[in-house]
Amino acid sequence: MDTAPQPPTLPALSLEALSFSYGDRFALNSVSLNIKAGVFTALLGPNGAGKTTLFSLIARLFQPSAGRIRVGGHDLGSQPNRALARLGIVVQQPTLDLDLTVAQNLRYAASLHGLAGGRARERIAALLDRLELHDRQSHKVRELSGGLRRRVELARALLHEPPVLLLDEATVGLDVPSRARIVDDVHALAARGVAVLWATHLVDEVRAGDRVVVMHRGVIRADAERDALIRERNAASLNDAFAGLTVGEQAKAAPAAAGAAS
């Protein structure tokens, strides 16, 4: 599998003027973004901002109406398999097979990336250890809590050692300790050099030093390091800055729309 490290100047993931629409409804409008290795990039946006659509384009579930996606320099349109091989993805929906055990789920996922035998066993064991799931490997997924299931999904996304990790609302439905644990795990991966794109609408998942990309109505509204963004927006917190970029806009749009209608 072609997952050799790329030159440091090359972004791990590059989105160039991406646009997408559902029929005549625009979901993404000329989104450009470079994701770098070793950086935790939080894609912050309210529900309906276009985050899941963006992830679906990167995962090649949809095809963009305009623009280009490159993963480690490989164009997703013309070299989809090379590009996808460099991605580890945790999607918003739970996707594990509930009737299979943790180990069976991971072996299946490993096989999809061409890993079998000793190599697969080694990777699965290492990830189960790292994510403290070793004693759960023979448990059926149905028996696991939501937090543990998410950690299994994280392990699955890392089986083929992808340089780019995408997580779409990975903490939805989890309690506070489980959320904190997943956020910790993924920050640790970024510290090891993995390029992380973390889509969320929960501001408290962003930490000092993280890069924050605010998306609203299919457009990128801000892109800066967390504290720099707070300063730029003259806000007291990231929550205020985020609200100013999204909720404030909605509040401004509402009276304008009402005025136009009257």
Partner: protein, 272 residues
């Protein structure tokens, strides 16, 4: 990915399908009981009413039970194809289909692997049914038990491809039962599974023509001849052509540009 990687991926998909099948014991028993009811109850009743003339591949008069076995083997594969389709719609609703579609291999290969894995599961069911039929003294030439294997692979792939195509067009699990009624029953009853086409001609001039256009008829005839270690060339040609057509349409249905994932998302499947 290397050639070995492709093979590992196929093996992984196959193992998962078999594991899922083994976890669903009810599915196995349903697959076995359904044709057995036809064989041991319906066929016993029909035997007196329906005389079967000597016709290829049969060399002599046969009982009705012997006649309908190929159709029941086709029925097992038809239901298995639809079951695979249902599980694909379920996988899509549950999200696990995304994991397969995000695999760094060509989508046609992933779908074909899924199809082949479903066919392998149908073979387990078919041979289990033949074993039970053998126990009830409904037996075929020994060579036939081996000769039907390639025929069953082709027919299983074709009927699985029908299921795959359906799964690419059905938006929600709730719609599945309705679609099934419009596929399984016409396919099964408008075929040579339960009665020879010449028998159908006695009742209508149109129905045999429709049955001739039905790929399931050709699948059944392919199996029927193979059970006597004979090749029905035209039936093989039609079955293979239908397989290619259904598979091609399924691949289009699951393509990122034209496919269902996009239409479904447009309907508001996920937020974010």
């Amino acid at each position: 990915m290397s050639a070995a990687g492709w093979a590992i991926c196929f093996w992984g998909i196959l193992v998962r399908e078999v594991l899922r099948f083994l976890h669903q014991r009810e599915r196995f028993f349903a697959a076995l009981v359904r044709p057995l009811v036809w064989l041991l109850v319906f066929a016993a009743g029909f035997r007196a009413a329906l005389g079967i003339a000597i016709m290829p591949p049969y060399q002599t008069y046969i009982t009705y039970e012997v006649y309908i076995v190929p159709g029941l083997l086709g029925m097992i594969q038809l239901f298995n194809g639809m079951q695979s389709s249902l599980s694909m719609v379920y996988d899509r609703e549950m999200g696990s289909m995304k994991i397969l579609l995000m695999t760094p291999l060509p989508r046609w290969y992933l779908l074909a692997s899924k199809l082949a894995a479903g066919t392998a599961v149908s073979l387990i069911q078919v041979y289990a049914f033949l074993a039970v039929a053998w126990a009830f003294d409904i037996r075929f030439p020994t060579a036939g038990y081996f000769a039907i294997l390639p025929a069953l692979v082709v027919t299983g792939l074709m009927l699985g491809a029908v299921g795959l195509l359906l799964s690419s067009t059905i938006r929600q699990l709730e719609n599945f039962a309705g679609v099934m009624n419009f596929v399984i029953f016409p396919m099964f009853f408008l075929s040579s599974a339960l009665y020879p086409l010449w028998k159908l001609e006695e009742a209508s001039t149109v129905l045999p023509q429709i049955a001739t256009l039905n790929p399931f008829t050709h699948a059944v005839e392919l199996i029927r001849f193979a059970l006597y270690a004979e090749l029905n060339g035209p039936a093989l040609a039609v079955t293979v052509a239908a397989l290619v057509a259904f598979l091609a349409l399924s691949i289009i249905g699951y393509s990122p540009a034209k496919g269902l994932m996009r239409r479904r998302a447009a309907g508001g499947g996920e937020s974010g």
